[in-house]
């Protein structure tokens, strides 16, 4: 059995080599492409969801459904899933590890906290090389020193750093091939997302919450790092294409008062997805500034929105605003995941997004038309529902008060209890979709916040108008909640409750399983149809990353980055009690199902 497998693998490799030789012959005049043999092509990225022997993109394919067709590991066989090796990120630097690993040709590429990158032998766990970005003193990342992953293209592995640089390393040596500034970290910019590759371009957003930041999406030549286009997401700003001004985003003062659009916010800090069928890039945009909505009457486009962009020129094809005139810091950067929706006997090219504001939206991904929205967390207060036109039915009683009408000595304004809290029904952690069960898997959190205008606040030694808030759990026994949601009905099919907030992504497989990690340190597997917990493994520290799976030597493997951190431990109060005592860490765990157990 074993011999036969090896023979088949060898024969397959030989056939591939022959094919490659035959194909490369007429292209011999293009040395650059020939040199890329063994590298990652555009086709490899587009096919990523269908090639289980590798994971060459963030999200297991540009649509980021986080679904694998592998099925050796299932409800019955999973008891045989064992750790194969564990790799430590080392150093004194730990904190949050939110990275999704990539794997190609027997090498795992995984990023660590503090802008570090590792290449590891996927069979043995031995380190091949490591790269540590030299970070300047005085970086002030708002929400921990995380990195969410890298991108592979040709012979490069590319990732972003906390001081807002993009670094492209040679996959074999770990040496820097190119390095570009996304922006000036001194101006409050940073970068933590995994970049997206679309047709030879590397697509990135920006992170940063300081005054003066305007969110934008940028495309660069992935091989050189040179800018091709820039698209600011706030109306009134000019885009750029091939070094020249292109078009204006929206129209000046359509949805912003005065000149406040100039510094409108809308940071695109979570990165995007791409759908080859519609040839559109999808990005989420962050909250507007200043935080108090009364100071900026209007919808404030395109903050707290999903936008679709043309990858060739960066033009916005459509936009959909989940929280117009946001007043709760519902930083709507959440990923938009394309899928085919079967409704009324028809197949609709749809996409779904679980918004920070607590609603799960389904849109027509060709034009952004609203299809449906349903709450995916409980007891939402800020809006009564989402209306048929996709706009929220706000509850004015739950919008923080107008500071110009504040009275009393401390002038706090009205404090309101808004659900969800500003950390969101869902934060950064990626959702997943299984074409088998036709369900979305959404890691969510049940929490609200008291929020008020804080008159006694100071910035750079001077008075300013701050926000005061206290985050509170909604239920006594849990905050975290992994939900399976039917996008056709908006109904929650099953719900796994976790005491601590969930902060990691999901993975679903053809083996009818859903994997996710918990701050309590477990990597867990659930029955994708029922939510029954079928397996767990304690990694020794909190898990706040996204799992991957791949096939290697005829065996199915599972990989996860472990290391407690992220934004949750930065906030105190009731929430901190659920995560007290969790130790930091920094490691990558690889598990496999030995072949003899898979066939039993």
């Amino acid at each position: 059995m074993r011999l036969r497998d090896q023979f088949l693998t060898a024969a397959g490799a030989l056939a591939l080599l022959v094919g490659a030789a035959a194909m490369s012959a007429p292209q011999a005049k293009e040395p650059e492409k020939a040199a890329a043999s063994g590298g990652v092509s555009d086709q490899d990225i587009l096919n990523d969801a269908k090639t289980p022997e590798d994971v060459v993109s963030y999200g297991l394919g540009p649509q980021a459904q986080r679904y694998s067709p592998l099925k050796a590991i299932n409800k019955e066989t999973i008891k045989g899933l064992v750790p194969a090796w564990s790799f430590s990120f080392g150093g004194e630097k730990q904190r949050g590890q939110e990275s999704q690993a990539l794997i190609k040709d027997g090498v795992i590429y995984v990023t660590g906290s503090y802008s570090r990158m590792y290449a590891i032998d996927s069979r043995t766990g031995e380190k091949l090389w490591q790269y540590e970005a030299r970070l300047p003193e005085g970086i002030l990342p708002c929400c921990d020193v995380v990195n969410r992953g890298a991108a592979l293209y040709k012979n490069l592995v590319i990732f972003g750093t906390l001081d807002a640089k993009l670094v492209a390393l040679d996959q074999k040596s770990g040496k820097v091939v190119w390095k570009k500034d996304i922006d000036d970290f001194k101006g409050g910019y940073s970068y933590t997302a995994a970049p997206l590759i679309v047709k030879g371009k590397i697509i990135t957003g920006v992170s940063g919450g300081e005054f003066g930041i305007v969110g934008r999406v940028e495309a660069r030549d992935a091989e050189t790092g040179e800018i091709i286009w820039k698209r600011p997401v706030i109306e009134g700003h000019m885009g750029e294409l091939n070094g020249k001004e292109s078009t204006m985003t929206g129209k000046v003062n359509e949805t912003w008062p005065g000149d406040m659009w100039k510094y409108g916010g809308g940071a695109t800090w979570l990165g995007g997805t791409y759908d080859p069928e519609t040839n559109l890039i999808y990005f989420g945009t962050g909250n507007p500034g200043p935080w108090n909505s009364w100071l900026r009457p209007g919808d404030n486009k395109w903050t707290a929105s999903r936008i679709a962009l043309n990858p060739e020129n960066g033009e916005i094809v459509w936009g959909f605003q989940t929280t117009p005139h946001d007043g709760w810091d519902f930083d709507g950067v959440n990923e938009f995941v394309p899928f085919d929706l079967n409704k009324g006997g028809k197949t609709i090219k749809a996409g779904a997004t679980a918004d920070r504001n607590g609603f799960f939206y389904v849109l027509d991904r060709t034009n952004g038309k609203f299809i449906s929205a349903s709450p995916f967390v409980e007891k939402i207060t800020w809006a009564k529902k989402i209306n048929d036109d996709g706009r929220p039915d706000y509850d004015p009683a739950f919008r923080p008060g107008d500071p110009s009408k504040a009275t009393g000595d401390e002038k706090k304004g009205k404090s309101v209890f808004a659900v969800p809290s500003f950390l969101g029904g869902k934060n950064w952690m990626p959702i997943g979709y299984s074409p088998d069960t036709k369900l979305f898997y959404v890691p969510s959190n049940e929490w609200g916040m008291d929020i008020w205008n804080e008159a006694v606040s100071y910035k750079k030694g001077a008075a300013y108008l701050g926000a005061g808030f206290t985050i509170k759990p909604i239920f006594e026994d849990h905050i975290g909640s992994l939900k399976a949601i039917d996008p056709a009905t908006g109904k929650v099919v099953w719900n796994y409750k976790n005491k601590a907030p969930l902060w990691g992504g999901v993975l679903s497989t053809a083996g009818n399983l859903v994997f996710t990690g918990t701050p309590e340190g477990f990597l867990k597997a659930f029955d994708a149809k029922t939510g029954e917990e079928v397996w767990k493994f304690q990694t020794g520290t909190g898990v706040v990353s996204s799992p991957i799976t791949w096939e290697q030597d005829g065996e199915q493997w599972i990989g996860i980055t472990a290391g407690w951190g992220g934004a949750v431990p930065l906030w105190g109060g009731e929430v901190a009690k659920t995560t007290a005592g969790i130790n930091q860490g920094g490691s990558f765990w690889a598990f496999k199902l030995p072949k003899k157990l898979a066939t039993r």
Partner: protein, 289 residues
């Protein structure tokens, strides 16, 4: 160690001793350790002219001079580090005085340009504030030829106002009078940029702190006959004035007292006044001092 304790400080010491009984933590870098080391690490803000900034690669400004004068009085050397302001002063305390930043920079012994606000002190129990050394106010610079009388809120009318975005003046103007001045505002990334625009004739009014405005007009050698400085009582939730002092870690209180004594001496002998004047800023003593 010899140092004089004023009667008022004695009273404070007594009340603090009562607090200490309930369990003060081990002293981290108190006065005698700073003296023994011979250097006092001081954190100041970058891009905070005229108080502190980087000029020609060197720390520059009122509080740079002040830190050096305090160090001299304590017979130590000032080691000044300029840092970016965080999201709020509470965060700056955490990053610079008691917990540290994510890059592992050394903690400072003293931070200047701290609003000596009782509520701010209460919610940051890890730090201890020194006596204040300056009374800061929000103000306007007005080009007299463009705005005739500028005595009440109503005189602003539809005149454009240059202002640093997200600053105290910005918050005041955005919330004053039910927000009626929102469309008057022309926002800039920094006060420097707003002042440059104003001086170039961009708008007839410039909003900012009194120190900001005085220093900018002084540096530009602007004529007092042409440009006046005014304070207006606008309604709204934003504070129009606050006092500025220093802060130390709460278990280094004795260092805080020593700094306070040095400040008192400098207020009395006129040294504070001359430091402020060097930068074109009129020294206004905090109330009660």
């Amino acid at each position: 160690m010899t140092r004089t304790v004023t009667p008022m400080l004695k009273a404070v010491l007594v009340s603090l001793a009562a607090v200490a009984i309930t369990g003060a933590p081990v002293v981290a870098r108190p006065f005698d350790e700073v003296v023994k080391d011979g250097t006092m690490r001081v954190v100041l803000y970058e891009q905070n002219a005229p108080f502190s900034d980087l000029k020609d690669g060197k720390p520059w400004g009122i509080e740079v001079d002040l830190a050096e004068a305090i160090a001299k009085a304590l017979k130590v050397k000032a080691e000044i580090r300029l840092v970016d302001a965080g999201e709020n002063v509470d965060g700056d305390f955490r990053l610079n005085l008691w917990k540290g930043d994510l890059a592992g920079s050394p903690l400072a012994d003293l931070m200047l340009h701290v609003p000596t606000d009782k509520l701010l002190a209460i919610r940051n129990e890890q730090i201890f504030m020194t006596r204040p050394y300056y009374d800061e106010k929000l103000a306007f610079a007005v080009r007299k030829s463009a705005v005739e009388n500028f005595d009440t809120v109503g005189d602003i009318g539809s005149a454009a106002i240059d202002v640093e975005g997200n600053s105290a003046s910005d918050a005041m103007l955005l919330t004053a009078q039910g927000g009626q001045f929102r469309s008057n505002l022309k926002h800039f990334k920094s006060f420097d940029e707003a002042a440059k625009a104003f001086l170039a004739g961009d708008a007839p009014i410039l909003a900012g702190t009194r120190a900001n405005i005085e220093a900018a007009l002084f540096a530009a050698k602007a004529s007092k006959d042409e440009i006046g400085i005014k304070q207006l009582a606008l309604g709204g939730p934003v504070k129009l004035s606050w006092e500025i002092g220093g802060a130390v870690k709460s278990d280094s209180r004795d260092l805080g007292y020593a700094v306070g004594d040095a400040l008192t001496a400098m207020a009395e002998n006129g040294a504070l006044k001359s430091i402020f004047e060097k930068y074109g800023v009129e020294y206004t003593a905090p109330k009660g001092y």
